[in-house]
């Protein structure tokens, strides 16, 4: 067998193994989604409040309200994700499945966009497929993909915006593009960018990347479109702020100014690199190539700006999800690097670095160069295998996953007996990922039973909205929002405390005692623990009035 053929076989085997690993991760992800879609309660804290935002919007009400007034509820997220789901509320009522399914579909669209971008630039189908699947294989994307949360939909819009922008060929490009097509792509990108920003505020970094690239390529268009974009985005912002009496600003901006925990940011950065290091290195190499030897693409600029989003993961209340944009950008760059290595499509500008490189190459033996080139191809493909092995997350039971777990000698390293996660844990990393069990559902219904029925005439004070939804009671308070505003000096809990002291709530449900300290103190003084019910690895505390008000209130 010739040397060339040996290398070809090695490359094919390496790519096949990487693909098998990625498909395995996809199967885990689909199974996880299928189980979550059926789970009727909050799986991740805060999902129920996003459902409540959707319900309020479906009733023509803004979720940006005065937190000092009953029901002490407001949202801290922009409305687009919830607006998109409003028709489902009209059709199916308050349910979790459609929000989780929407998140899952958003990740598939993002993966497809990543694959499309890599295919468009490199014409390497296997690498394009690997790059798209690598996005879905990430522990972080797996975590938050199929949740009733807006973050991953923001990442979808961001990715679509950047991929669309990259499709616009600015003069003097060797690839001619019809002016109409370029404008359409640019407009599509701008619309996606606006959608990303009104899905979650964090998209601001991608807005920066988008216009930075546009400014480099076409300053006039960047200024014109930038002004237009600012006017439209600002007008929407102003309109919502006016129609909510300023509550939009308070809840979207003020409530998101939180303490920055450096230890959390560093822990997450280390964890991120430990899991994604193989592809992150490829992405950085590609970024360096463009920086020194070619022209900067929108992807590389986006990669740089996405690091700012990732750095914000140190904020209280933030976490691993803040790396999702960086992961999408990283997958594209890693795909571009691998695709260029395999196809040899590199083009080097003439400068001191490329001249030095050429001089070094000239001194090398042809045989050595051939083997080094082959090794680079196989090694680059093998990086996807390393990544696939680094991010393993797996349920430990069941006929398929149980067998795989046994074969790999995997044991639980999480708080769940039935789930392995290579990520381990660090502050800010969500302790989720396990498949919710039938026992979790049964225990959730037990908490619903403890909440009582609307007939008792008293609302429940719960740190998760699902139980009140299922019991047919109003959603009262968004505890983390109250805490953020309280810590920033923008929330006076006096009215809520007065209601607690008057025992106007039939029950209090704690998940993590999120409420501001004075509220917690009032609850402890007036309510007592009657049950602790486990669900999804958390102990939910059920508290009832210390002296039953049944004979006082009625």
């Amino acid at each position: 067998m010739s040397e060339k053929r040996i290398v070809g076989v090695m490359l094919k085997v390496t790519l096949a193994v990487a693909l098998i690993l990625m498909i395995g991760h996809l199967l885990v992800y689909v199974t996880y989604t299928a189980r979550l879609v059926q789970f009727p309660f909050d799986y991740d804290q805060g999902e129920g409040f996003e459902l409540n935002d959707t319900v309020l919007l479906s009733q023509g009400q803004w979720p940006y309200r005065d937190n000092a007034v009953y029901p002490f509820y407001a949202s801290n997220y922009p409305p687009l994700f919830h607006v998109l789901l409003v028709p489902f509320v009209w059709l199916f009522g308050a349910q979790y499945w459609y929000g989780r399914l929407a998140g899952f579909i958003a990740t598939l669209i993002t993966a497809a966009a990543i694959g499309y971008a890599v295919q468009r630039e490199t014409r390497q189908r296997a690498i394009a497929l690997l790059a798209g699947l690598a996005y879905l294989a990430s522990n972080y994307i797996y975590h938050i993909g199929p949740l009733f949360r807006q973050h991953i939909t923001m990442v979808m819009f961001e990715t679509l915006a950047i991929v669309a922008l990259s499709g616009v060929r600015f003069l003097p490009s060797p690839i001619p593009t019809k002016k109409g097509n370029a404008n359409r792509a640019l407009w599509f990108g701008l619309i996606c960018l606006l959608a990303a920003g009104y899905t979650k505020q964090l998209a601001i970094t991608t807005v920066g990347a988008f216009f930075a690239y546009l400014f480099i390529r076409s300053p006039r268009r960047a200024i014109v479109y930038g002004i237009g974009f600012g006017v439209v985005a600002g007008a929407i912002f102003l309109a919502i702020n006016v129609s909510t009496g300023g509550q939009w600003w308070t809840n979207i901006i003020t409530a998101n100014v939180n303490q920055y925990i450096i230890g959390q940011a560093i822990g997450l950065a280390r964890q991120f690199f430990g899991l994604h290091g193989a592809l992150f290195v490829l992405a950085c190499l590609y970024a360096l190539y463009e920086l020194y030897l070619a022209r900067l693409s929108a992807y590389v600029i986006w990669f740089g700006f996405a690091m700012i989003s990732a750095a914000l993961s140190g904020k209280w209340g933030a976490g691993d999800s803040y790396f999702a944009t960086l992961i999408a950008a990283m997958c594209i760059l890693a795909g571009l690097f691998a695709g260029n290595v395999l196809s040899g499509r590199w083009s080097f500008a003439d400068n001191y670095l490329s001249r030095f490189g050429r001089r070094v190459l000239l001194r090398l033996q042809p045989q050595f160069k051939m083997w080094a080139g082959s090794l680079l191809k196989v090694g680059t493909a093998a990086a996807f295998i390393l990544y696939g092995l680094a991010v393993i997350h797996l349920p430990l039971s069941g006929p398929i996953f149980g067998t795989i777990a046994q074969a790999l000698h995997l044991q639980s390293n999480t708080k769940f007996a039935d789930f392995y996660d290579a990520a381990g844990w660090t502050q800010g990393y969500a302790t989720i990922g396990q498949l919710p069990s039938d026992a979790d559902s049964a225990n959730g219904w037990q908490i619903v039973a403890a909440i009582g029925s609307p007939a008792d005439g008293r609302p429940a004070l719960s740190e998760e909205a699902a139980f009140s939804f299922r019991a047919g009671k109003p959603i009262v308070t968004n505890p983390t929002q109250l805490l953020n505003l309280y810590l920033n000096g923008h929330y006076d809990p006096a009215t809520l405390i007065a209601m607690i002291q008057a025992q106007r709530f039939s029950v209090v449900i704690f998940r993590a005692r999120f409420y501001p300290q004075p509220v917690l103190e009032a609850i402890d003084a007036n309510y007592q623990l009657v049950a602790t019910i486990p669900m999804n690895g958390y102990s939910y505390q059920v508290l009832k009035p210390r002296q039953s008000l049944d004979n006082v209130a009625h």
């Binding site: 480099i216 076409s218 300053p219 450096i262 920086l291 400068n351 001191y352």
Partner: protein, 65 residues
Amino acid sequence: MFTNFTKRQLGLIFVATGALGVIGVALYSVLRHHPIGAYQAAAIAGSVLISVIGATLIPLGSQPL
């Protein structure tokens, strides 16, 4: 209008950004009477790295960004 941004310009921006980073951290420590700890040292190292990258870009001259 400015249609050809160059690697040299980017290099200069990086050098200036890195220098500002170092000055910023130093000023913060002086004004707050805060000794330079591990986080500040890391911030200074990051700023220096940005400056070094910028310095290596300057010789690329008028190559388009």
